[in-house]
């Protein structure tokens, strides 16, 4: 198998609604692969199928050649897939440091005995947490409660928690959602900095961001993948234009 992540004929229907239909996708290792499409196209559901939030109706997901279909959401991080959410999904009353620390600790495969050591006994995790927090630019907020951060900072923390999962593949669901232009710029740079070190599967609505950072773009429409290609190809693609602008009559 060539791709790091391969989805074969993934489908999900909620009662009568076909949210994702026969979706095939291959994500190459080290790439930034974006999924775009109008609202309600099924992008987030597609993510949920990969990350175990929702089991697929049919189809399989392979990661590093290994079948991960049907693993529950708390098992997925342990194979090396970490996700961030469209709606900010952090631990509001914990500090920035604790937010990231908890994510790192989850992946450290601690023994039962280590569970009752002191949090301060884990020097290596502490250093990693600080490093990740500096990388996203929140080092000044280390001991602040997450709920006191601005929306933009919370989005950055969301990415930091995802990094804390020490993943091979990151699933980023609209990281720039609701961000002001400057903050969007900051987030774009952060993702560009992560590209190469991590394989990134990205859902994004802001086209300038998508076009700037993606190697490959897949377009989703009513649950189907209707096109795939590099940024230039996608820009020219008629099916994509129709999906976004409606059919020309």
């Amino acid at each position: 198998m060539a791709g790091l992540l391969e989805c074969h004929a993934l489908s999900k229907n909620f009662d009568a609604v076909d949210a994702v239909v026969d979706a095939n996708l291959e994500v190459a290792k080290g790439s930034v692969h974006s999924i775009i499409g109008p609202n309600g196209a099924g992008k987030t559901t597609f993510f949920n199928l990969i990350s175990g939030e929702v089991p697929p109706t049919t189809g399989r997901v392979y990661f590093k050649g290994q079948d991960i279909t049907g693993l529950s959401s708390h098992q997925i991080p342990h194979v090396g897939i970490a996700r961030c959410f469209q709606r900010t999904n952090i631990f509001p009353k914990l500090t920035v440091f604790e937010n990231v620390w908890a994510a790192l600790f989850a992946r450290s495969n601690a023994s039962a005995l280590e569970l009752i050591k002191r949090v301060s006994d884990f020097g290596e995790i502490k250093d990693k947490a600080r490093k990740i927090i500096s990388e996203v630019g929140l080092e000044k907020k280390l001991t602040e409660r997450a709920e006191t951060l601005s929306h933009g900072q919370q989005r950055l923390l969301e990415v930091a928690i995802t990094l804390g999962g020490t993943p091979t593949l990151m699933l980023l669901d609209e990281p720039t959602q609701g961000l002001a232009p400057e903050a969007t710029q900051e987030m774009t740079q952060l993702i560009q900095g992560l590209a190469g070190r991590y394989t990134i599967l990205l859902i994004e609505h802001k086209m300038h961001v998508v076009m700037a950072i993606s190697h490959l773009i897949s377009v989703m429409h009513f649950g189907h993948f209707i096109a795939e290609g590099g940024p230039d190809e996608i820009r020219q693609n008629e099916a994509v234009q129709e999906a976004y602008l409606g059919t020309r009559r």
Partner: protein, 306 residues
């Protein structure tokens, strides 16, 4: 406030307490202090509200009481009671923990009622409505002072052990679950498993407190396993404040003090408790600890003002 200072205050309370209140009252405060702190591991740290903690308290008391009556030494009776509750809470937890919110409250409540009626109807074993009477204390603990010292040591050991738990990664995992169970799962924690662990820890310490309680009045009254007692535990915890580790101790002390004081001069004292509960829930969500903080802020500001 630093932990060390808080421990000093607790020690001072243990020493001075018996001079301010009857010794049995202070003993009871310490026993229920363990229960309130244990309950808070679930309520305050993990975000689970169990309405069935009296079943573990009562069963711990019954098991230890029965073994003591059968002539077993305390060194066997107490661990046996704790172990029994540990195993029982693992089993009961298996049914309760997969439920969340109101359903969790209801099913813990239902289990509590079930064990209450077993205790109520199994008269031969538990004494039924009359309670399990005639529990002996080991001769070493038979005078009031040595029993008080014993309870104090158990209390301190439990508090230190539970503090260690909440300061550990395990405690942080509990908090991530309280804050955001979906996210806790998405970073790789098995949320149900950790809720189960939290449930078991809280219940076992509650049962431990029960084994000590059995010896306090030489009897286990049936109301110690009634669901109303579960409500009392929650009240103590909320009264003290779920936001801090030590807060519930103040809650237990305050609750028992009110109970003892009001009951003396007014038959309808539960009405007053109700008023206090309403005030706490409406205006003082952080409990007495929040009140102390607010008063302290006022004082500091007043002192700082020219």
């Amino acid at each position: 406030m630093r932990d060390r200072n808080i421990y000093l205050i607790i020690l001072a309370f243990i020493v001075i307490g018996p001079f301010l209140q009857p010794r049995v009252t202070v003993t009871e405060m310490l026993i229920f202090g363990i229960v309130a702190v244990a309950s808070n591991i679930m309520i305050g740290y993990t975000g689970m509200l169990s309405f069935g903690q009296a079943m573990f308290f009562g069963i711990g008391a019954y098991v230890a009481g029965l073994l003591l009556k059968a002539g077993m030494p305390l060194i066997i009776a107490m661990p046996a009671g704790i172990l029994f509750v540990l195993v029982l809470s693992i089993a009961v937890g298996a049914f309760c923990v997969p439920r969340t919110g109101l359903y969790f409250i209801c099913i813990t409540f239902a289990f509590n009622q079930m064990f209450y009626f077993i205790a109520y109807s199994w008269t031969d074993l538990t004494g039924g409505e009359d309670g399990l009477a005639g529990i002996p204390r080991p001769s070493l603990l038979d005078d009031p002072v040595s029993f008080y010292v014993f309870v104090s040591v158990v209390f301190l050991a439990c508090i230190v052990a539970m503090k260690r738990i909440v300061d550990s990664p395990l405690g942080l995992i509990f908090q991530t679950i309280r804050e955001n169970p979906e996210r806790a799962a998405a970073v790789g924690y098995n949320v149900k498993l950790y809720k189960w662990i939290s449930f078991t820890i809280a219940s076992t310490f509650t049962g431990l407190a029960g084994t000590v309680y059995a010896m306090l009045y030489y009897i286990v009254p049936i109301d110690q396993i009634h669901w109303l007692k579960s409500g009392d535990f929650i009240f103590m915890t909320l009264l003290g404040g779920t936001g801090s580790f030590f807060g519930p101790i103040i809650g237990a002390i305050g609750y028992i003090w009110m109970y003892d004081t009001f009951a003396l001069f007014w038959g309808r004292w539960p009405l007053l408790m109700g008023v206090v509960f309403v005030v706490v829930v409406l205006y003082l969500r952080g409990g007495i600890v929040e009140l102390i903080g607010k008063v302290n802020d006022r004082y500091q500001r007043a002192r700082g003002a020219p």
